[in-house]
Amino acid sequence: MTGNIPFLVVGVVFFLGLYAVLFERNMIKMAIGITLVEASANLLLIVLGYRFDGSIPVFTLAGEVKQMVLPTPQALTLTAIVIGLATSALLLSLIMMLYRHYGTLDVREIRRLRG
């Protein structure tokens, strides 16, 4: 049970991120929430691929290796991290643009589109 704490961390980080996205009013904090959700997804993949006593899956100067951790989640996470980075960059740019147009970071005041 306690050995599965990493899974609990994934759940907590995911829902903290979701909380920030849903209930925060500052757009920067919403962006932080989105990056938290991304972090939890990446953490989940890494956690799923861990094997006890596993070393990194690289053979260069590896020495005596019993077993290695699963490599696929690491590859998937690399892809997901870059995607997350790209999304964050664009999100922050959009927030900069919104700030310029509306003069505020409060998401409640940014509502020209409605109905």
Partner: protein, 521 residues
Amino acid sequence: MNWQIHLPALVLAIPLLGAFAAPLAGLGGKHIRNAWFIFISVVTTVLTMLLWQKVAAGGPAVYVLGGQAWNLTLPSGLTWPIRIVLEVDAFGAFMAVVGGIVALAGAFFSLRFMEKFSGLDKFVSLYFLLVTGMLGMELTGDLFNFFVFLEIASVASFGLVAFWRDRPEAVEASFKYMVISTVAAMMVLIAIGFLYGRYNAVNMAAVGQMLHMGYAEKIALVFLVIALAMKCGTVPMHMWTPDAYTEAPAGVTCLLVGVSQAALYGLFRVCFSLYGASLDSVVVPWTIIVMGVLSMFIGVSMAVIQKEIKRLMAYHSVSQIGYILLGLGVGLLALRDPQAMADYGFTAMKGGIYHIINYTVYKGLLFLTAGALYYAAGSRNLNELGGLARVMPQTTFMFVIAAAAIAGLPPFNGFVSKLLIYESTFAVYPILAVMALVTSVLTLASFVKVFQTAFLGPAKAKFAHVTEAPGSMILGMSILTVVIIGLTLFPTWALSHLVEPAAKALVDQAGYIAAVMGGGL
């Protein structure tokens, strides 16, 4: 051996190459860039059609990226794929053709529509990336690859929605869309992580073969359904749809319609091919049906009160997505019962899938005509427009055709698909068919309103200088008009050649798995 075996990869690689080389083409000036834009769009569309032809003739096409041979899905002695496999069955090829057509129409339309703005190199790149993302979602047979293409399509559409960056509404719409869409994409990733952890595979066919319904699988299914429903804009999560569709440039909106269909494709691929037979409860089909009915009704009732022409049409697309969800949800409900499938399920699926092509084509055309109005008259407000039928006869003609098709007036293609949906849903629960009928009537009412206020009435002095939209925009619209008229004139051909194979392929989970896993094990 010929080059056609490489079609599934080429359909994705060509627009991607087009996007990467667009900055180079932009160096050569306006004409080279436009030529590149049109050339790659035409090539992509032709390739999707060839792919469809190949799949229609020879069954599901697989393509192993980077493998020793294109069809070596399982390397010697293995029982699971180790590489990314593109898998195109009749449904995927059908969706790709639909996407290719709207992409071509949007490209022709955007040539003149975007002409006076700066940053067009970026526009061309983003447009091709959006096309790639859409086609990739429809052709891939790999869960993680699906996620990657989902992200390409999403990020490209954020950029394109906010392309008129000095318009506060556009940036706001893009931000809203981005928040919802990114969270949805991460939920897809987490669900993929669950399935990977359980089965140590990310190939859809491999996971589908091994899948046993358990707690983790249920959570993954919930995540996937919620996330993909968010992406295609059904009712509880539809807030972004009207904003993004309204604020994007018209040619892009036309393509965004295709992208929402790709998300819908993902939803049904997950429900039918990934979970399929192991989906033992009726909760998921009923969720989809209820979402569909709510989308239909709420979408259309919001649309009736809109003043802005593109926003009105955007709410109609929420409502039309509802029809598709209703049809395919009923099909999913009947999936485990061969009797029910023969009685009404398959008809519903045919109706839903036929509605996908109809909806994409006429909704794309409607957005393009709205864009042409906007371009010529400089306004999208229905209270200001009026009497434009005199000065824009061709646009008016195409608008009438599209509006008649979306309202389901009898000779047009929208009528056929809606009739199939009414028939089959009546067998499940008459109230569903009644709701669909009411929605259809309200749709007709609201388009009559648009036609009357924008096109009919006395000529306004303000619009005296308005002329017909330029030739390339008319060309883009007429591509879609020709498709609508073709589907109207030959509904039986479309049903038997386009729709029925697609519906059969969607139901046939074993066939989808066997195409990759070789039927063994």
